[in-house]
């Protein structure tokens, strides 16, 4: 057992011996368990090559890859066992949907892993519920729209109940609502104990979501650590082909001009607003409604947001559409900052996470009261 789910030691990879510059060059990376991790880099930097080493798709030309402290065994049975714990969702869902109907495709993973039939059935139901596609169970995959295919690819990855979920550009091609839904789903996975790794070039996404980032450039690992430390070095950011996230940049500019210090570093719009307003006026409160078994609607105040699969199911069962049916936490925080109360229905097991997000505003000078 190790605190790291993946480690690489001097990992070098060339897809052919004639290749001049290796795709990965002496990469030493350590991915912590349970920590929201992002692998950042421009197109072609080697992000996918790296994570395909984690589940043994690629074998290093030199160096080692370790899973949970143990070096990878590349024989067929060992790889099969490894891949029962690691799921990858690629950017283009058509590349990983193989079956003719939704049900069959979601069952593909579990059946390959040798799960019993009742377990497979449960896995199908659970995954479809999580991605909110239950009524599409018997649909042919070809009839689905792009966003729906992305969700089914996701469900297929979740159905084997992996310990690790690797997502390649999860929000690419998705509209803002669907992007937020993906992040919400991912956060639920993290709270349930899955280690989630997102590979992306979207700096705003990585900055708002990740606790730790690893940055690749032309196959080399150029940074591992906290996002702020990376973005502080502007030249390095530009060399990697990336840009600085909006929230970081605005904070940097305003604080530099005012001659004040940069931290605490806001990562979301609500945090940056709090910092800018200097606790000027009173904040509204958020009424937090935990949704679990047998939960029901309560008396609401202000705008209503919904967060989490159980909460969404509750609303669907009552045939109701919430005012904020995506990105609900941030929207309710905005209501609070503007001095208005709001109500947030959220899954019981996500309550600590949500309370943490609300409490994070304290660092920026505004306190938002949470009532039950």
């Amino acid at each position: 057992m190790s605190e790291y789910i993946f480690e690489t030691e001097d990992l070098t990879y060339k897809y052919s011996s004639r290749q001049e510059k290796p795709s990965l060059d002496n990469v030493n990376v350590k991915i912590k368990k349970g920590v929201r991790t992002a692998i950042l880099g421009a197109n072609g930097a080697g992000k996918s090559t790296l994570f395909y080493h984690f589940n043994g798709i690629f074998k290093p030309s030199s160096g080692t890859v370790k899973y949970d402290g143990t070096p990878l065994d590349y024989n067929r049975d060992a790889l099969t066992e490894l891949r029962k714990h690691i799921s990858v969702v690629v950017q283009n869902p058509d590349e990983q949907i193989f079956s003719a109907t939704v049900e069959e495709d979601i069952a593909f993973g579990p059946m390959n892993c040798g799960m019993e039939r009742e377990d497979v059935e449960k896995a199908i139901q659970d995954s479809l519920f999580k991605v909110n596609m239950e009524e599409y169970r018997y649909r042919p995959t070809i009839q689905l729209s792009y966003g729906q295919r992305k969700r089914i690819a996701f469900a297929g990855a979740l159905s084997i109940r992996p310990d690790v979920l690797i997502l390649d550009e999860p929000t690419a091609g998705l509209d803002p609502q669907m992007s937020q839904d993906v992040i919400e789903l991912v956060d639920q996975m993290v709270e349930a104990g899955t280690t989630v790794i997102i590979s992306t070039h979207d700096v705003d996404l990585a900055y708002a979501w990740a606790e730790e980032i690893h940055v690749l450039r032309h196959g080399k690992l150029v940074f591992s650590g906290v996002p702020e430390d990376f973005f502080a070095d502007l030249e390095q950011v530009f060399l990697t082909g990336l840009t600085v996230p909006h929230t970081y940049s605005v904070n940097f500019m305003t604080q530099s001009i005012k001659g004040e210090k940069l931290d605490p570093y806001p990562r979301t719009n609500s945090q940056i607003l709090c910092k800018m307003r200097h606790g000027d006026s009173a904040t509204g409160h958020i009424k937090l409604v935990p949704v679990g078994e047998g939960a029901d609607m309560v008396e609401e105040e202000g705008a209503v947001g919904v967060y989490g699969s159980d909460s969404r199911r509750l609303f669907a069962s009552k045939d109701r559409v919430a005012d904020y049916h995506f990105n609900a936490i941030e929207c309710c925080l905005m209501e609070a900052i503007n001095g208005r109360p709001s109500t947030l229905y959220c899954d019981e097991r996500m309550v600590p996470f949500v309370e943490g997000r609300i409490a994070s505003l304290d660092r920026f000078g505004s306190h938002v009261e949470v009532v039950r």
């Binding site: 395909y52 589940n55 798709i57 099969t80 891949r83 029962k84 690691i86 799921s87 990858v88 690629v90 283009n92 058509d94 590349e95 990983q96 193989f98 079956s99 003719a100 109907t101 049900e103 069959e104 069952a107 593909f108 993973g109 059946m111 390959n112 892993c113 497979v120 199908i124 018997y138 649909r139 042919p140 995959t141 070809i142 009839q143 297929g156 084997i160």
Partner: protein, 275 residues
């Protein structure tokens, strides 16, 4: 939506979807065979009614335009074909109509007229029965039916893969088609050919790229060499076998006993002509 995906949508929304595909297949084959076993014209009329009934039940009369047009086209061809048969009779039968149009000798006899009707009715009946099968059985189900007939697993999986990836390539083709239109790719005959060739190359390239990526994704999803089927459509049970046998026997029996009940020439032209 392309025609293939319309057909696919139709099949998946059919009321006959949950019938055992092998059962449907056997029924169709048996009915087609029995259709031509006897000379009786009552048999094709019966199978036509069965075919129409199944088609109606399967599609609930919601037939896409292109299928309707295809059926119409088929009917027109059959009418022309049957018409030719009807006017090229031999001398061994009473003549109904005889004339010369340009160099062509019209020689319609009782026999040729009846034969033409027979061919026409049998063909139409066959078409309706086959369409009822096609509109209620998506390719994956057909593949399952073949598997139950002990066709090699690899062939069945290949059928489903070609079907699934075929759709993706059709989608790409449609995009490229539109893109070509944006740049006047179909302006004139030579351009049409060149553009079609370019699209073919594009689809080929994209299919090989897709294959590469799919291989990686298969490994990621722990592909063990076979494509597992979670919910196979129902197998053929004793009920289906009995049904098929009964249908075959009944139709054959009717056929043998109604050999000369329906005489189309008599119906159209009266007893005197037939003699």
């Amino acid at each position: 939506m392309s025609e293939e995906s319309q057909m696919d949508t139709l099949a998946y929304s059919s009321r006959m979807l949950s019938w055992a595909p092998l059962g449907k297949l056997l029924l169709v084959i048996v009915v087609l065979i029995v259709n031509i076993l006897t000379r009786s014209m009552v048999v094709p009329i019966i199978t036509l009614i069965i075919g129409l009934g199944l088609m109606a039940y399967s599609t609930n009369f919601k037939i896409p335009l292109f299928i309707g047009l295809a059926i119409l086209e088929g009917i027109i061809i059959l009418v022309i074909g049957a018409g030719l048969i009807s006017v090229t009779g031999s001398d061994s039968s009473p003549v109904i109509w005889e004339t010369n149009i340009l160099w062509f000798k019209i020689h319609m006899t009782v026999d040729s007229f009846n034969t033409a009707w027979n061919v026409f009715l049998r063909s139409i009946a066959g078409i309706t029965v086959m369409i009822s099968f096609a509109t209620s059985t998506p390719i994956p189900h057909l593949s399952q039916a073949l598997r139950q007939l002990h066709m090699p697993r690899e062939v069945c999986e290949l059928i489903v893969l070609i079907y699934r990836y075929g759709f993706l390539l059709l989608e790409r083709m449609e995009s490229m088609w539109n893109a070509a239109h944006c740049r006047m790719g179909f302006n004139g005959f030579t351009n049409k050919i060149k553009t079609a060739a370019a699209i073919a190359v594009g689809i080929f390239t994209s299919s090989s790229n897709l294959a590469d990526k799919a291989q990686i994704a298969l490994s990621c999803r722990n592909y063990q060499g076979i494509f597992p089927v979670y919910n196979a459509p129902p197998k053929v049970g004793i009920k289906w076998v009995c049904l098929v046998v009964i249908v075959a026997v009944v139709i054959y029996y009717i056929g043998i006993n109604t050999l000369d009940v329906v005489n189309m020439a008599e119906i159209f032209f009266g007893k005197d002509v037939v003699g």
